[in-house]
């Protein structure tokens, strides 16, 4: 993960680079981020944060990564592609609640009160889940008082422009440039 911070306040820049790194590690997504670029001008006031995530897998149906069998109380899943295990569990917990979804062993998931037909057609979207996690991290990093925001999202890149004043066109232009830059690579 590469973090670059531009701005006039050297101490502030270094501290926000460390802050961002700590938050990514805390949330367990440091390994999923390729590059981070921040532009911080407190006197403006302006804060731009651009992130490019690493490539993730394409959306895929549950039946393509796991075998689903109906049982008396619901259904059991036997995971065939372990690379999707974490995404699958996370999606099922969100949809049905952690009380109804258990993982008794590494490759087995038990869903209570859910039919196999219902699960078979559901899709896993790893990139969407990653974007949600990255957005959460960005909201934690951005200064709390900078609530006026404008964002760009394309492919595997996200950019948020934040200020506490009325958003200006030149800041949106700066954000757009930062977004294009990070999409190409710093």
């Amino acid at each position: 993960m590469k973090i670059v911070v531009d701005g006039k306040d050297e101490y502030g820049n270094k501290s926000y680079a460390k802050l961002a790194q700590d938050i990514f590690f805390e949330l367990g997504i440091a390994g999923l981020i390729e590059e981070v670029h921040m532009i911080i001008e407190p006197s403006a006031p302006l804060f731009i944060m651009s992130i490019r995530m690493k490539r993730t897998r394409s959306p895929i149906k549950i039946r393509d990564v796991a075998s689903i069998v109906d049982t008396k109380h619901g259904c059991n899943l036997i995971i065939r592609d372990e690379g999707y295990a974490a995404n699958l569990l996370s999606m099922l917990w969100k949809r049905y609640g952690s009380l109804n979804v258990e993982q008794p062993s590494r490759l087995e998931i038990v869903c209570k009160g859910v039919k196999a037909d219902e699960l078979a057609g559901l899709r896993l979207r790893p990139v969407e889940e990653l974007k949600t996690m990255v957005l959460n991290a960005m909201w934690q990093i951005l200064p709390e008082g900078f609530r006026v925001r404008y964002s760009f999202a394309s492919g595997h890149s996200l950019t948020i422009i934040a200020t506490e004043d009325v958003m200006r066109e030149e800041w949106i232009a700066m954000g757009r440039m930062a977004h294009e830059k990070i999409s190409r690579g710093l």
Binding site: D9, Y11, G12, S15, Y16, L19, D22, I23, E26, I40, P42, S43, P45, Q140, P143, E144, G145, F146, R147, E164, D165
Partner: protein, 311 residues
């Protein structure tokens, strides 16, 4: 004047120290016993310090100065969101408690941002009730010097500011500790502990200055004496919160609702006189509506008595 100390030692024969302190006219503010160890928070007459030091040495205990003992300190965060809590606010509050102060964390309603950062009159009044306050600011020099510092104006107590950059002469602040700012981890490293010690040291200096100011126009009664009378009242058992009476440099906070118990507190007899002869009893601006006791200086009571006599 009293010196505030913390004694740590064995339970065995600790009563000898307690009796000596009381015989010399001092006070035991707090007692904490853990297994066979005892921690006593003491107020000792300055002139009798050597006697207490000898007793402590004989009992093989440790006596430490606690400049923050007998004070209530506000630790002020710009908000209560995860941007500012728990780090570093809780570490600072905990360290000041270890140094003997009673701390309260206040999260401002609209303290975030730069230009938009605000402090309300109620928040200022609440903060002014404490003996001192520590404000936690962020990582940018321009923000701290040109925007956040104005939140401190109109406050009438010592203020220590913490932040990231190494800057000087923050308007309206009595001291500044750099190298803290916004962070996501506990303050455990050696340099972090040094910064916490610096905050405690600066606060201790401000508190000592304030004690000397008070000594120049002495209070009509010591806060510790009022505390001992109030702690003996049956109504104190109605308090549901921890430590129902908190010492201030010039008074007391009683954690009972003002509307229900203020009159009874005013009528409490101390040395043959009502409590409100020695002090003003007012309502705290905090959400609980506690009772605040502000002790009058001796000179004010003499002036009032002279005016009453003439009339």
């Amino acid at each position: 004047m009293y010196r505030f100390m913390t004694y740590e030692g064995g339970v065995y024969r600790a009563n000898e120290l307690v009796e000596m302190v009381e015989d010399l006219g001092g006070h035991i503010i707090q007692t904490a016993q853990v297994s066979r160890e005892i921690i006593l928070t003491l107020a000792i007459p300055e002139e009798d310090m050597q006697i207490i030091e000898k007793v402590a040495m004989r009992l093989r205990g440790t006596l430490r100065e606690g400049a923050l003992i007998g004070t209530e300190i506000g630790v002020i965060s710009p908000s209560v969101s995860r941007h500012h809590l728990p780090h570093p606010v809780c570490d600072i509050a905990e360290y000041l408690r270890r140094m003997g102060g009673v701390t309260n964390i206040i999260g401002m309603g609209r303290g975030t941002g730069r230009r938009i950062a605000q402090i309300s009159m109620t928040e200022k009044a609440m903060i002014d009730e404490y003996d001192a306050a520590v404000f936690i600011f962020g990582n940018f020099e321009d923000c701290i010097m040109n925007q956040k510092a104005r939140l401190l104006s109109d406050l009438n107590i010592p203020i220590i500011v913490t932040g990231g950059p190494d800057i000087h002469n923050i308007p309206h602040a009595d001291g500044y500790v750099c190298g803290i700012g916004r962070r996501t981890d506990r303050m455990r490293k050696k340099e972090d502990i040094e910064r916490l010690e610096e905050i405690a040291r600066l606060l201790g200096r401000c508190i000592e200055d304030r004690r000397r100011e008070i000594a120049e126009d002495p209070l009509s009664i010591d806060p510790i004496e009022i505390k001992q009378y109030v702690d003996g009242l049956p109504i104190i058992n109605q308090a549901t919160r921890h430590s129902p009476t908190i010492l201030h440099l010039d008074g007391l906070r009683i954690k009972l609702p003002y509307d229900r118990y203020a009159d009874e507190i005013r009528r409490t007899k101390i040395l043959g006189k009502r409590l409100d002869y020695f002090a003003r009893v007012t309502k705290s601006r905090n959400e609980r509506g506690d009772i605040l006791i502000k002790i009058l200086p001796e000179s004010a009571i003499q002036a009032e008595s002279a005016a009453d006599f003439r009339n």
